[in-house]
Symmetry: C2
Subunit: 337 residues, 2 copies
DNA sequence: ATGAAAGCGCTAACAC
DNA sequence: GTGTTAGCGCTTTCAT
């Protein structure tokens, strides 16, 4: 049987109010009393009931974190950064996987609302706006990462998608490529749209007309990357820009099945740094600052707790560009895909 | 401002007790009254405060799920199965990533205890036993998956590790291999030990003496799979048994760097089905029933809620063995690594 | 500096 | 079948 604050109070010979003050490091407790309380806590192995606390203060110490794909190592790093940040501040992070499914996202958001979590961080699907308004009703602050929610004034951390895509494609142009294909996520996803804008910008600057046979969109999954590339290869592009990590895996497979070599037959520029894999050809890529992204998101949320009325901040982080990196230069990280 | 049960009661012209009864589908409410309550709930957009409910019933509707590596797609499927099962029963799943770190595991277990979750499912590290006893003190049931906790009488779902490893290695033996190397996770992890037993059993049966230069253990990560294999290859094995998915990725890389082809130069038998990858050579593998494993774990926990005194159940699921599967036969799943 | 007491929103025992 | 009420364990005024 777990002990309660009353038991601690009795053992220390004080009231439960005093124990509570000690627990939350409030001032106005004599050191001698404080030590007696601490000793009693220790002796009983007392741990506060966080549920009772949450009810009383009308807010739990849980942070809800909804990620569109927990298997994607990019998001995994983001998760770790957020956990690290909140752990220091006594919050626990409740992780939810939306799988890019607006229905699951809605379910989790409502649940987090019912649990009266302290705050929410999420990578929104394109349908998140409506449900997010419900959280605002109960004053649960939200930080959006990776993708914008255009309709809402929310704290946001994203990366410079358009600029990075522009630089990657510009690099292909400089290498003399004219037929540059691209594989993108649906343009309803903000990152897809922004990266497409970068692609267009680079071509326009080089006065290469847009060829719609070289542009394919789909779900940001390996399977779509694969099938879209199979179609694209019929058009004989000399280079390809892939806009998301998972799609790139499918791109690689399709190219390999076709017996083409990289970069001789087809040159690649892609978004995201690939996980370490047995096979990894030379390519250019934009590495997103995933840990920083998580850190910043946590920071914004903690700031918001202190200043609920502060205007929404939109942070844009920079990717690191790597041009024509060969397999050998890839770093071996602790964990694979 | 969110509405409360009292507001609903007032609007429907009943007491809050009746509203509560309607909410939890208790009997003894007239249909006419029930409908009035439902209408009021709808009109106010009322959602129960789960925190208050948790405090009152001394148990939340949250299931804690601690996974040793959320990026591993094997566990990802397990997570999905567990979420699916509990969603049907009105529980929410709180996902935590222990990263194989006993300290993080301890932190999360204590947190889940303080949150008075309804139950916990976890893939334990080798140091879990002590902390798990703390949960027993507050009557929080625990189901252990993938790995046993020897010291404790807990509901458990695992796979037939020894038998599967035995069959895989036996297959290598039948193909005439005498120098069969193996890469294993530390034997303090139950799965590592069991799979090693299977390996030894197959060699013993074939009267092949154990050669300790062909046996390497490490952390179940890609990096260790890679470095251990580099060493093993100096011994010129003709076959290799890799005991975990992440390690296998490192194995493949090391073999490729050495310029060896699979299966001609070295034959592979491995645990786990690899995620879809651009490069994937022929090998034998034991596919774990990951979805079933999650389903069964959820089932055991739900049963335990109903019958707290039932003796602990130890379920052992069977892997599906695939021998000498070529790349082309691999199924393209929706998502990559 | 400390204690007494109210109350967070809900459920369940008991009364009718 | 429905209402009244006590109380889950904690925090936070308000007294002293």
């Amino acid at each position: 049987m777990a002990s309660h604050i009353k038991d601690v109070a009795r053992l220390a010979g004080v009231s439960s109010a005093t124990v509570s003050r000690v627990l939350s490091n409030k001032p106005h407790v004599r050191d001698e009393v404080k030590n007696r309380v601490l000793a009693a806590i220790d002796e009983l192995g007392y741990e506060p009931n966080r549920v009772a606390r949450s009810l009383r203060v009308q807010r739990s110490s849980i942070i809800g974190l909804i990620i569109s794909d927990i298997q994607n190592s990019f998001f995994n790093t983001v998760v770790r950064a957020i956990e690290d940040s909140f752990y220091e501040h006594g919050y626990a992070v409740f992780l939810c996987n939306s799988d890019e499914d607006p229905e699951k996202e809605r379910m989790y958001l409502n649940l987090l609302k019912a649990e009266r979590v302290a705050g929410v961080i999420l990578t929104p699907t394109s349908k998140a706006a409506e449900t997010l308004k419900g959280l605002a009703q109960v004053d649960i602050p939200v930080v959006v990462i990776d993708r914008l929610v255009a309709e809402l004034e929310l704290d946001t951390v994203t990366t410079n998608n358009q600029e990075s895509a522009y630089q990657l494609v510009k690099h292909l142009v400089k290498q003399g490529h004219k037929r540059i294909a691209t594989v993108l996520p649906d343009l309803s996803i903000a990152t897809g749209l922004e990266r497409f804008e970068g692609y267009k910008q680079a071509l326009k600057e080089a006065e290469i007309p847009l060829d719609h046979d070289l542009i394919k969109t789909g779900k940001p999954f390996t399977s779509d990357g694969y099938s879209l590339t199979k179609e694209l290869l019929k058009e004989n592009p000399s280079a390809l820009f892939s806009a998301t990590k998972l799609m790139t895996l499918g791109v690689l497979r399709a190219i390999q099945e076709q017996g083409l070599s990289i970069p001789e037959d087809i040159t690649l520029a892609v978004f995201d740094k690939l996980d370490w894999m047995p096979y990894q050809p030379q390519m250019s890529f934009a590495e997103q600052p995933s840990y920083d992204l998580g850190k910043q998101a946590a920071h914004l949320l903690l700031e918001r707790f202190k200043m609920p009325e502060r205007p929404a901040q939109k942070q844009i982080l920079k990717t690191t560009l790597h041009f024509d990196v060969k397999e050998a230069e890839m770093v071996l990280t602790a964990q694979g895909p």
